[in-house]
């Protein structure tokens, strides 16, 4: 198990280098002169040339690549042109908000999706199964920005139950930063009212973000459960007198969880990417919003930084899924 974990971590590092190289390639192969873009439409040739030297863009591509990889190795993501501050520092400042949103959304997706998938499989083709089917199709079909706005109109504007946008009201002092996740930090510092307020803020964007993910977790879990419940070892468990509840909740669920876990890993990466839309609608101060505003002002270093960051979290999440696989399935531990 330990060597298995060790190998997975090595793979993680390798993949990370691959992503870095790919990002470099895409930004350099993309049409347009980065120096000219940075200089702006009214710049003179001289200004463009100065910028080119300043950013090292006059060097050959391999040279640029080594400089870029070297910088990355020293955790230097470059400097933002707009704010003139190190990109890493800014990404680190915005990342917790996004991660908090993704974690809550994933949590919702799992605790609602898995049991509903399980029940739909047990009562296959019954009323509950039909309802969850409609529910999951709409989950995948509804565009996030539209769904978000509808929720805002209903729960914030009409009913006034929940705040429209943001992470915390301007008047609330954020808790001392420990993890950067407001829900966790407010609990650590014992400020339950702040916890409550930030929970109210996160609930709508988390629902919007988790909806498609919940739908796919539900469907995968349902399909797997149906398959597992027909398998021979379930028949045997029944014949040995194990109760139906225990068979479904303990035996079959563990078997059905394997593909569901893979789906969760994939959806985690998808969510990190989708936060761009959700954060824009809910004015959520995360890396998605940061990437959008940087891209709009042709500030490329932050965009690359955010891409790498999302890639990093995605790979970490999937490595965790791989480890969970081995933990659940004894047959994989030796491989």
């Amino acid at each position: 198990m330990l060597t298995f974990a060790f190998r997975k971590v090595l793979t993680l590092i390798g993949t990370m280098i691959g992503i870095a190289a790919l990002t470099f390639l895409i930004t350099n192969v993309a049409p347009g002169d980065p120096a000219r873009l940075v200089a702006g439409p009214n710049a003179t040739e001289d200004m463009v040339a100065t910028i080119r030297t300043e950013y090292g863009l006059d060097k050959s591509l391999p040279e640029q690549f080594f400089v870029y990889m070297g910088d990355l190795a020293r955790a230097d993501l470059g400097t933002s042109i707009v704010t003139t501050r190190p990109v890493l520092e800014e990404v680190m400042r915005y990342a917790p908000a996004t991660l908090e949103l993704v974690f809550v959304a994933m949590f919702l997706g799992i605790i609602v999706g898995v049991p509903l998938g399980m029940l739909s499989a047990v009562y296959k083709d019954g009323p509950l199964d039909q309802i969850t089917r409609i529910f999951s199709i709409s989950g995948v079909a509804l565009p996030a920005f539209w769904f978000g706005i509808i929720l805002q109109l209903t729960f914030s504007v009409d009913l006034e139950w929940l705040p429209v946008s943001g992470r915390l009201p301007l008047v609330t002092r954020p808790p001392d930063t420990v993890t950067g996740l407001l829900l966790v930090d407010s609990l650590i510092s014992g400020r339950f009212s702040t916890f409550w307020v930030s929970l109210q803020h996160i609930i709508l964007p988390a629902i919007v973000l988790s909806f498609p993910c919940l739908a796919s977790i539900l469907r995968v879990n349902r399909a797997e459960m149906i398959e597992v419940l027909q398998s021979d070892y379930i028949v045997a468990a029944r014949a040995h007198g194990i109760s139906s509840f225990r068979i479904v909740a303990c035996y079959a669920l563990k078997n059905a969880m394997l593909p569901t876990l893979a789906m969760i890993g994939l959806r985690f990466g998808w969510m990190l990417g989708s936060t761009v839309l959700v954060e824009t609608v809910f004015d959520w101060p995360g890396i998605g919003l940061y990437a959008v505003s940087s891209a709009l002002s042709s500030d490329f270093k932050p965009v690359v930084g955010v891409t790498l960051m999302i890639g990093f979290f995605f790979i970490v999440a999937n490595t965790l899924v791989d480890l969970a696989y081995a933990w659940i399935d004894p047959r994989l531990r030796k491989a």
Partner: protein, 546 residues
């Protein structure tokens, strides 16, 4: 005395898309305490549905039309689910066919058995005992079924054990509730010959020791005869004959039973083919069609450990003969077959086919070579694509390997169906509309479509019923004479090997332990392993051929 199990005029339908299918048509069966009853019948005869109904785990869409099942005086025909918990696994328990698929792969052996014990304690209303107590009971059960290394076994997982050990574990689980009635559903079908004999011995000893009542179903009448004193023959949802096993074997009354018994190959009967062939064989020595020299296959796992599936095997197959390969699972038979056909690349060694070394071929030359050698798989149900018609399946090699016109392919397909004795109209059918034996004929037709010279048959009859097996074997021999084919015939069934193979090799753990003329091997085996194989094969074979 009331019967332990009493089934009266039991009729069961299963609802399908095309309306109800009558699966059981008025079954009458009585089992007394201490009885050992065998139910024999081919696949689809309804025997599994019948015994599963006794345990309340019949198919989902089934409906009892008429009749009743009562157990120990209690009517259990329409028992509500909560009342079953006091019966299932406790008073009636069951062991199954394939011990791999009937054990949950994600839970340890100890956990699975202790859970069963806990479920029984809960059902008895006495409260679940401590983990340690359940562990002790689990180890006691494992000991009872003759398993060694109990404490290690407790934390092992199903995939780490052999087939025979897994079947013993399933038996231990079934014994956990000290059942009155044990139902064994094809308990030996998925096991090797030597293991089969051991498991049957175990069941017999448990019957004696625990005073069990047993119902055992099997399509293998030899296995039934080894265990059961009484026997019922099922055919198309009906019990066509029942009585003492001895009587049924000696004087079968029903026409189906007679056919079934006639089809069982007898390991101790020298086939006529040897004598017949000796007369017709031309004096000129035929050349070798296929030779393997020092063939070896090593599989390397991701973690770097190596498994040698086949260690330096040399053999020579003469043109026109049937060359038998016999051995238990894991002996490397299938790896060898796949190497001979170059479906996989040998790690080292040479394969000479018709004078040409094909061990290093790849790409187009190898593809050209393929038309001369074909493969017939064990399970015809999975060897045919369910979404292609039979005509498509048979025509496929012609489309791939030749540039025949569509009309020619059509004509050749019809001719091939004719050769394998199936109606021409079958080309429009889909695999699910055919029986197992018909499907295997289609697979053979597909294999001979390109007029190959060599056919490798990997357990071609072991997924088929015995009566069908006999037909397919006869047919294969006819076909060989007609088309001048050479066969490499792989099987674990010694009686079948003796019936049709000219020369045979016996494999064990990737090596040839004995080789020679088939008759010679059976009459005077030299190696202990061969003797043991024949002896365990003889046990069930003899029981069936009283």
């Amino acid at each position: 005395m009331i019967a332990l199990l009493d089934i009266q005029n039991y009729r069961l339908d299963i609802g399908t898309f095309d309306g109800p299918v009558h699966v059981l048509k008025g079954i009458n069966l009585t089992v007394n305490r201490g009885d050992t009853l065998g139910i024999v019948g081919e696949s689809g005869s309804g025997k599994t549905v019948l015994v599963r109904s006794v345990l309340g785990i019949g198919p989902r869409n089934s409906r009892v039309v008429e009749g009743s099942i009562s157990f120990d005086g209690q009517d259990i025909t329409a028992l509500p689910e909560k009342d079953w918990t006091k019966i299932r696994g406790i008073r009636i328990s069951m062991i199954f066919q394939d011990p791999m698929t009937y054990l949950n792969p994600l839970f340890s052996i100890g956990r699975q058995i202790s859970d069963v014990i806990a479920a029984h304690e809960k059902a008895a209303g006495q409260g679940v005992s401590s983990k340690a107590a359940r562990r002790a009971r689990t180890e006691e059960l494992l000991d009872q079924v003759g398993l060694p290394n109990l404490s290690m076994l407790f934390s092992q997982y199903p995939h780490q054990l052999s087939g025979g050990m897994r079947q013993r574990i399933l038996i231990a689980m079934a014994l956990a509730g000290k059942p009155d009635l044990l139902i064994a559903d094809e308990p030996t079908t998925a096991l090797d010959v030597t293991v089969q004999a051991q498991v049957l011995d175990l069941i017999n000893s448990l019957v004696e020791k625990l005073n069990l009542t047993v119902i055992m179903i099997s399509h293998d009448i030899g296995a039934i005869a080894t265990v059961a004193k009484r026997c019922a023959v099922m055919y198309k949802g009906e019990i066509v004959e029942q009585g003492l096993t001895r009587d049924i074997l000696n004087r079968p009354q029903h026409e189906y039973t007679q056919r079934l018994l006639a089809a069982v190959p007898d390991i101790d009967v020298a086939p006529e083919k040897a004598a017949a062939r000796a007369a017709e064989t031309p004096s000129a020595k035929p050349g070798h069609l296929l030779e393997a020299i020092d063939l070896k296959k090593v599989y390397r796992s991701q973690s770097g450990s190596e498994v040698t599936a086949v260690k330096s095997i040399s053999l020579a197959v003469k043109t026109g003969e049937i060359f038998g390969v016999v051995g238990e699972s894991g002996s490397g038979k299938s790896t060898l077959a796949r190497m001979l056909l170059r479906l996989i690349k040998p790690t080292s060694g040479d394969i000479i086919f018709d004078g040409q070394n094909i061990s290093g071929l790849s790409g187009e030359p190898l593809r050209q070579m393929r038309r001369h050698m074909q493969f017939v798989f064990q399970n015809p149900h999975s060897a045919l694509n369910g979404r292609h018609t039979i005509g498509d399946a048979i025509g496929e090699p012609l489309r791939i390997q030749t540039n025949m016109s569509r009309r020619d392919i059509e004509a050749r397909t019809e001719a091939l169906l004719d050769i394998v004795q199936l109606p021409k109209t079958f080309k429009y059918r889909y695999p699910h509309e055919l029986s197992g034996g018909q499907k295997q004929r289609v697979c053979i037709a597909r294999a001979i479509a390109l007029n190959p010279r060599l056919l490798i048959l990997d357990e071609p009859t072991s997924a088929l019923d015995i009566s069908v097996q006999a037909q397919v074997l006869d047919f294969l021999q006819e076909l060989r004479a007609e088309l001048n084919l050479t066969y490499v015939f792989i099987s674990h069934n010694l009686a079948v090997i003796r019936q049709i193979c000219d020369r045979t090799i016996v494999m064990k753990r990737g090596e040839i332990v004995e080789q020679g003329e088939t008759e010679q091997i059976f009459l005077a085996p030299r190696e202990d392993y061969t003797k043991a194989l024949i002896e365990s094969g003889r046990k069930t074979s003899q029981a069936a051929n009283l």
